[in-house]
């Protein structure tokens, strides 16, 4: 498992977290190449289906990064995300998927360092958990 | 698999039963097996679900008798939460349940089992279905059958949302109040239902009982099996479908068990065989003696005839007369002739209708007080009803959040699984001689089978009534010498 390089998808909001990633770049702060960014306008726009699709499509971990509570450019999109993904995390466990494979966190535009930190920690965590294979699809089990 | 079967015989069957008949060197029957090729695993996958969802989840065990599972589950929730339903709720439930029993029994008689008798066991197969029944009893009667069923289903939808997979049951009560308008319709329907049940019994009398060859068939030793019988009774030992003690009488009709719902696991045990997915319930006190009948056997049977055998009468007057006539005609009690189930079913249909008249007149029926919300912390509960096909047991355990942690289900047809196997083998041994097989054999095996298992033929529930049945004749373990698929 030591050679395992996970695929991690990060949905980042345009106003805060994407800008935070930008700042990490400007400051030349390295973060793992395992993390692939998808920019969205707001975490409130991240349908749980996007996250499921990512897992289904081969992601070993998924992150949703948005503005800190109170800073949402659309008033409360990030809070809606919080509510949704709290339910979502409970559900992941029922499918036997470790809740740690999903992370919702807040990264502000000025938090390049935090961006580096959460992406690095997430990558290490997923490396420890190993690859995720979604089960129950016919191609792999029924002849 | 036992699983599916233990959960619900009908659904498990998937409409597919398989019989393997093994011949000896002389071409006579050595062994015969009825196998149930499916399991769905309800007992396991309900773990983790919310308790209040059980009446709707378990109704999917069987789409033909969903109300039986729905009600057993609802009662198990009452027990789990230690809550007593309000008088209105109790009456609504019992009324709903009797509507269901009336409809289901009629469906079986006209659509499934009836064709054998009304059209005739020897009639061309293409005629042995509801259309053939209509030809026989006349189009007017046929229309009445469809109409009374339609009215019954509409009333069930009014009370319980929908007839297939109803939604009315909740711990401590029901979801919806009954309106005065609905009461009036129910009362009108009940009167017509009694009349219809009487007409049906008369038809059965004229067509079947007045015909000596049919009566001989009912009394034939091919369909005779000595077992004990189980059924639910009220305080006066009269049949009740919704609530009461469970009573068991032995092969001679003597009471050997009478127990409260919570004690079922002390009375009943289940045996597992590797060659079928269905389990074999038996009386714990007597023990598992194999798939055999007779006085030493632990096998018990359920379903209409078993209920009549295990009770001391019917709680309504006209049904009581029929009850007495049945035992007088056959001349013994208990009646061990499996085919008498068809008659017993009609006696119960009449009782359900008469009971509906009484229930629809009760004052509390339309009360708005339909739910007792005084629920205790859940732990464990058992709910039992008499399903059309016999005693049905739901047993749940839950954590303090109201999440199911364990479930055990003993479904009516499962209780008859051993008896069905004996019946099959008995018929096969009688009718297959010297390796000769013909269509008559299949008919006779089929008759035995159908008599045991209205529920197995959940499939047959629908229109013309036959179970998909496959028979293989084996010379030895590896050599198939003939394969017959019922035609």
């Amino acid at each position: 498992m030591s050679n395992f390089e996970p695929n991690i998808i990060a949905f980042v909001c345009n106003w805060c977290s994407y800008a935070g990633a930008d700042q990490a770049g400007e400051q030349k702060l390295d973060y793992p190449a395992n993390v692939k960014l998808i920019r969205v306008m707001c975490t409130g726009r991240v349908d749980p289906q996007f996250v499921m699709n990512a897992f289904r499509g081969g992601a070993d971990g998924v992150m949703v990064l948005g503005c800190h509570p109170g800073d949402c450019h659309y008033r409360n999109g990030n809070i809606k995300a919080l509510r949704r993904f709290e339910i979502f995390k409970n559900m992941l466990g029922q499918f036997g998927i470790n809740r740690e494979r999903f992370l919702l966190d807040w990264v502000a535009a000025g938090e390049g360092q935090k961006f580096q930190k959460v992406t690095t920690e997430m990558t290490e965590k997923i490396k420890g958990l190993g690859p995720l294979v979604i089960r129950g699809y016919v191609e792999s089990e029924v002849v | 698999m036992g699983k599916v079967i233990s959960i619900d015989p009908i659904t498990r069957l998937e409409g597919h039963g398989k019989i393997d008949i093994f011949l000896n060197d002389d071409g006579n029957v050595d062994r015969a097996f009825l196998q149930i090729p499916e399991l769905r695993g309800f007992e396991k996958f309900v773990e983790g679900r919310r308790t209040e969802e059980m009446p709707q989840i378990t109704s999917r065990i069987c789409g033909v008798c969903p109300t039986a599972h729905h009600m057993a589950a609802t009662k198990a929730l009452d027990s789990l939460y230690k809550v007593v339903p309000t008088p209105a709720a109790r009456t609504i439930r019992e009324l709903f349940y009797n509507l269901f029993m009336f409809e289901d029994h009629l469906l079986h008689f006209y659509f499934l089992g009836g064709p054998d008798f009304i059209v005739g066991p020897d009639a061309p197969k293409k005629k042995r279905n509801i259309l053939g029944v209509i030809d026989e009893v006349g189009i007017e009667m046929g229309k009445k059958v469809i109409e009374i069923r339609k009215r019954c289903r509409a009333l069930m939808a009014e009370l319980g949302g929908k007839p297939v997979h109803p939604v009315l049951g909740l711990p401590g009560g029901v979801a919806k109040q009954v309106t005065e308008e609905a009461r009036k319709e129910l009362a009108d329907f009940a009167v017509d239902a009694v009349e219809f049940a009487r007409i049906t019994l008369k038809a059965f009398n004229d067509i079947v009982l007045e015909n000596k060859s049919y009566l001989d068939l009912i009394l034939s030793e091919s369909y005779y099996l000595e077992t004990s019988y189980m059924g639910m009774v009220d305080d006066s030992l009269k049949i009740n479908f919704y609530d009461g003690d469970i009573r068991v009488v032995d092969q001679k009709g003597k009471e050997i068990e009478r127990f409260k719902h919570d004690d079922y696991a002390d009375i009943i045990a289940e045996h597992v065989e590797p060659w079928t997915y269905i389990k074999f319930p038996y009386l714990r006190k007597i023990g598992w003696k194999g798939i055999v009948d007779g006085t030493d056997s632990g096998i018990y049977r359920v379903a209409p005839l078993a209920r009549l055998n295990a009770s001391e009468g019917m709680a309504t007057p006209i049904a009581q007369e029929e009850y007495e006539r049945l035992f007088e005609t056959i001349g013994s009690k208990p009646v061990h002739n499996t085919l008498a189930n068809h008659w017993a079913r009609l006696v119960e249909t009449l009782y359900a209708a008469e009971h509906l008249v009484e229930l629809s007149g009760r004052e509390e029926l339309t009360s708005p007080d339909i739910r007792n919300m005084d629920l205790s912390t859940p732990d464990e509960g058992v709910g039992i009803v008499e399903a059309p096909r016999g005693t049905l047991i739901h047993h749940y355990e839950a954590d303090e959040r109201g999440i199911i942690t364990a479930a055990n289900l003993i479904v009516a047809t499962v209780a008859n699984s051993a008896a069905m196997n004996i019946g099959i083998e008995r018929a096969a041994k009688k009718y297959i001689r010297n390796g000769e097989v013909n269509d008559g054999l299949l008919n006779m095996v089929e008759m035995a089978f159908r008599a045991y298992d209205p529920c197995l033929s959940c499939a047959t529930h629908s229109l013309p009534g036959k179970m998909p049945l496959q028979i293989r004749l084996m010379k030895d373990a590896d050599t198939v010498i003939g394969k017959i698929i019922r035609d």
Binding site: P48, Q49, M52, F55, R56, E86, F88, M91, Q94, G96, I97, N98, R135, G136, V138, V142 | M1, G2, D8, T11, E14, G15, F33, P37, E38, L39, G41, F45, R49, I57, R60, C62, V64, N129, R153, L159, V164, H165, V167, L168, L170, A175, K176, E270, H271, V272, P274, W275, T276, R371, H395, I403, I410, C458, A459, S462, P464, K466, A477, I485
Partner: protein
């Protein structure tokens, strides 16, 4: 030979409720029987697998298949029917998306067998006997179909032309499909033969639904008796209406019970994801603690949101992970 279109009905892992829908056509069944020639219907007519095998490929105009795929036998017969049929309609929620039997995808075969045959309080099975696909008994060899570890939907094992979800679909749904087929008015292949909108659009409690629902916490039916007029979600009671396809005429709501989602999601939606999005949008809680408290009465999201659709969940079947 009749020149009426040949039709087959078959059931896999299901309860028989879909067959009841056919009977519930009541007097209309006679019209249907006049217009078509039912050549295979194990539940109602003598089924002959050998006859089915003897038919020409494509000889059957339409096969209605209900039930999920739980065993090898069900897979086999479905494949046979596919070969013999011009059009295959997945009929009912089990065939379309797994249905109630697919709740077993949150468990596995081993545990199901263990519970059913060994652990239940009435089992007496000291030797731990389990059903086997092959058994030799007194010189007789008996076989059973294999029980799969996963419950599949029909289009996991064969190509499906049309879908009609519902637990069960209503007689009106069935009649519409049959009429469309008889008139040659079936839509493009792959279509769901029901409206592509959510149940809330039709539900008569929509009128009592506030424009902007907010609820402080989820309430269970063990805690509360539902108001007979008000929108369930506005009462804090989980109702699957927003994530469920229209077409049933909301009988459960008329029975004063919330929708449990039996018609499945609208096109291209994952039912669980859609429901989480809906619930997340209306809970009135602002920090993690409040949110956790608000959803504490919803301890079984997978079993609730995918009650009938686990075989089609994007998250698949339960896997074993630390």
């Amino acid at each position: 030979m009749s020149d009426k279109p040949k039709v087959a009905f078959y059931w896999c892992a299901s309860c028989g409720g879909c067959e009841e829908t056919v009977v519930d056509l009541e007097e209309k069944i006679l019209d249907v029987v006049k217009a078509i020639d039912i050549v295979f219907w194990p539940c109602a007519m003598d089924p002959k697998y050998s006859d089915l095998e003897a038919m020409d490929d494509g000889e059957i105009a339409i096969s209605f298949i209900n039930g999920a795929i739980r065993t090898s036998e069900q897979e086999h017969i479905s494949k046979l029917l596919r070969k013999k049929s011009g059009v295959v309609i997945a009929f009912g929620s089990c065939a379309v998306m797994g249905g109630i039997p697919a709740l077993a995808n949150l468990k596995n075969k081993k545990d199901i067998f263990k519970r059913s045959y060994r652990d239940s309080p009435t089992n007496v099975n000291p030797e731990g006997v389990l059903p086997q696909t092959e058994t030799d008994l007194d010189g007789c060899r008996l076989s059973l179909p294999e029980f799969y570890d996963t419950v599949y939907k029909l289009d996991d094992v064969i190509e499906v032309d049309y879908y009609m979800p519902g637990c069960p679909p209503t007689p009106a749904n069935l009649e519409t499909a049959v009429q469309a087929a008889l008139k040659g008015e079936l839509p493009e292949k792959g279509a769901v033969l029901l409206p592509d909108k959510s149940l809330c659009v039709s539900c008569d409690r929509n009128e009592t639904k506030p424009d902007d629902i907010t609820i402080s916490r989820i309430r269970r039916l063990t805690e509360v008796q539902a108001d007979p007029e008000e929108c369930f979600l506005a009462q804090g009671i989980i109702c699957m209406g927003p994530a469920t396809r229209d077409g049933c005429e909301y009988p459960c709501v008329k029975g004063n019970m919330p929708c449990t989602g039996c018609f499945g999601p609208v096109s291209d939606a994952d039912q669980g994801a859609r429901m989480i999005a809906s619930i997340g949008g209306i809970i009135d809680a602002d920090d993690e603690g409040e949110v956790r408290d608000a959803v504490s009465a919803m301890p079984d999201p997978a079993g609730t949101f995918y009650r009938y659709s686990l075989s089609s969940s994007l998250l698949g079947k339960k896997r074993e992970e630390r």
